[in-house]
Structure formats: structure tokens, C-alpha cells
Amino acid sequence: MIANEIKILLLKEIKLEWRQKFALNGIVLYLASTIFTVYLSVNVKIGVLAPQTWNALFWIIILFTAVNAMAKSFILENSGRMLYYYSISRPQSFILAKIIYNGGLMILLSSLGYLIFAIILNNPVKDILLFFLNVSLASIAFATTLTMISAIAAKANNSHTLMTILSLPVIIPILLMVIRISGNAIAGMARSASSGDLLTLAALIVMIGTAAYILFPYLWRS
């Protein structure tokens, strides 16, 4: 039952996104132009950027792209449509559909970001498989946290500022773990070095997801 609802809501999200391509295009353009700005500001010849700097810049850009992409998931929805969703679906399935959709979107966006990064700013990653596993987990973690925060921020008046200040401190622990794992992947260290961090990250996703699942119905009622 709940799975069915999620499927319908998920399809609706994808259709809606496809119809309003400007939002998606906007965020892709945002990603590309930030990376290009970074490339021009660090002003390096290919191969000179140190792996640690590469790592930090990559994740900061992904983080801000994520904040911008997720912000629209609740803030840009108009209230009439929200009321309609409220009448036809359960809050749990609604938030899960949003999280799954945003997770997928984030995986796409960060893979694209990696591609652009690899082309313009060279590609120091040695362990590609671990790096992609990390990117996927990080995307899901960002999506889970930011979807919930955007739902909270959408209730307030100046929601865009609020979105940033609420999400950044909450996201930092995730970001630190992700940066550490991807540092390992870049250096090509043994996978066993990162398994603990990966498990903690997965546990954190489950924990935040559960919190969102339980708390969202309360948020939804207004």
C-alpha cells in the first residue's frame, strides 16, 4: 500500500521535473558554472592541484549544489498543491518519495559534477569504485537531511537564508566523514581503512531517515 503510493508520488515528481525543465537545467548550470569559477580562480595548470584541495573543493561544490537543489523541493511548491497532496496521500509516503527522488537526483548531479571536475581539473581518484560508493551514500545522506530541513524551512518567512543556516551545521558531520572516505579513495588506500566510516555513514542515514519518517507527519499538519 505504502509502496504503491510512493511509486505513484515518485513518478509524479519525475514527470513534474520533466515538464518544468528550467529548474533542473538551472541547477545543472549552477554546478557547471561553479566548477568553472573554481577552475579559473585557482588558476592551475592541469595536474598541479593537490589531491586534498581537489577533494575539499569538490565536496563543497557538491554541498552547495545539494542545498540549492533540495531547497526547491518544498520551498518552491505552492501551498494549494500541498493541500491537494495532503488530501490524497499519507505524509510518510510523501516524505519517503521526496527523499528517494532527491537521492536519485543528487546521485545524478554529483556524478555529473565528478565528470566535469575530472575533465577540467584532472582526476586524482585511484579507487573509482570506492569513490562512487561514497558519492552515492553521500548523495543519499545529503538528500535525506536536506529534504527534511527544507520542509522545516519552508514554514518560515525568509526560508532561503534559514535553509542555509539550518542545514550547514547539521550536514557538517556527514560532510567530514564523506571527505575522509573520499580522501582514502583518492589516495588509493586499502578498502578496509574506509569500511568503518562507510558503516557509520550508513547508520547515520538510517537514523536521520527514521527521524524524518517519524517527525514529518507533525510538520505536515499545518
Partner: protein, 210 residues
């Protein structure tokens, strides 16, 4: 009483002489209880947030906010005492220690909580949304303070090859002051909070009468 005992005992009694730490070990009675106090206050605040969501009673909202406020005060004091201590023992007030950074980020989370509260006008909405954020942020704070620093090297005791305090220097004389200090500071926080809650409750009732 406990606090008098802590302050007097903490400044006057014998402490073990250790290299580097020297007399600054007395800060143990002030710095460490702050973090105990903060976690207890913030935990209580989350407890009342949960109760608010399940009952919609404004009294719980006031309690949760005031406990969070006291928790933030403890957190700020904890950082300040920690910085003083660090300036003497580690050589600089801010030495990029994972626990210091984590504590600073934790405080940012709760400052954001206050900003969120102020940006909402409707009382009921404010109470509900800040309760939700409070519950949502707490697991992250716990991860930040208790899990992440354990995984890297820290200058704090008990991590990165440094033995914990228990191992060598928390001798029995210090314990006799340390535990009452924790209880004393926490009780001070609770007392302070309960005063603020009572003021807020009175304000709410007078508003109702008018």
C-alpha cells in the same frame, strides 16, 4: 552548597602534580562539568520537545526552550573554559582539535535553532517546528560529540593514544570534588532553568488574564 564545596575544594585542595598540566588541572572541576551539564540540558530539552509534539501543551514548549537555552549557556562556558585551559597546556586557545571543532559546530546547530524560533511569528507553528528541529538535530549532535572525535586523533584525553583521565590522574581526592562538581553545576542549571520557566509561565497566564 555543592558548588561552594567545588569552588573552595577545587582551588585549595591538593592536586596531583603532572608535567604540562600543573595547576591548570583544577580546571577539570569547571570545564568538564560544563559538557556534562550541556548534554543533560539538551537531552532534557529534546525530551520535552517530544512531549510537546505528543500533547500540544505549551508548557512543554516553554520547558524545552528554556532547557535548550541553559544548554547553550553551558556550551559557551564550556568552550571558553576549554580555550583558557588549552591556551596554557596546548599553547594556543584554538588548536584545531576535533573535539573543539565538534563543540563549535554543535553550538552553531543550537544558534540556528534560536534563529529558527525567532523567524516564526505564529506561536503554535513556532512551537511545533522548533520542537521538530530540536529532535532532528539531537542525533546529529550526539554523532558529532561522541562518535566522530573517537575516530580521529585528539589532543583531549582518552583519544589518539592519550590515556583517559581515569588512567592516571583522577586520583581519589580529585574524584571527591569532581563528582559533586558535576552534580552541582547540573543542579545550578536546572534551578536556573526552572526559574526562567516559572517566569515564562507567569507571563503566559497574565497574558491570558489580560
Amino acid at each position: 552548597m555543592l558548588l561552594f564545596y567545588t569552588v573552595i575544594g577545587g582551588f585549595l585542595l591538593q592536586v596531583p602534580r603532572l608535567p604540562i598540566l600543573n595547576e591548570s588541572i583544577r580546571n577539570l572541576y569547571f570545564h568538564v562539568p560544563m559538557w556534562f551539564g550541556m548534554i543533560i540540558m539538551l537531552g532534557t530539552s529534546v525530551f520535552f520537545s517530544i512531549r510537546y509534539l505528543s500533547t500540544n501543551d505549551f508548557r512543554f514548549d516553554r520547558q524545552s526552550v528554556e532547557f535548550a537555552n541553559t544548554g547553550i549557556v553551558f556550551g559557551v562556558l564550556g568552550i571558553l573554559t576549554g580555550m583558557i585551559w588549552a591556551a596554557f597546556t596546548w599553547g594556543a586557545p584554538w588548536s584545531n582539535d576535533p573535539k573543539q571543532n565538534a563543540a563549535a559546530i554543535g553550538l552553531l546547530i543550537y544558534f540556528a535553532f534560536l534563529v529558527l524560533r525567532n523567524s516564526l511569528d505564529d506561536e503554535q507553528l513556532r512551537a511545533r517546528i522548533s520542537a521538530i528541529y530540536n529532535i532532528f538535530a539531537f542525533p546529529v549532535l550526539v554523532t558529532l560529540l561522541f562518535i566522530l572525535p573517537r575516530m580521529t586523533d585528539s589532543l583531549h584525553p582518552g583519544a589518539g593514544g592519550n590515556p583517559g583521565f581515569n588512567a592516571y590522574d583522577l586520583d581519589n581526592k580529585m574524584r571527591m570534588i569532581f563528582y559533586p562538581a558535576v552534580i552541582g553545576w547540573t543542579l545550578l542549571g536546572v534551578w536556573f532553568t526552572s526559574l526562567r520557566i516559572r517566569i515564562k509561565n507567569l507571563e503566559a497566564t497574565t497574558e491570558d488574564i489580560i
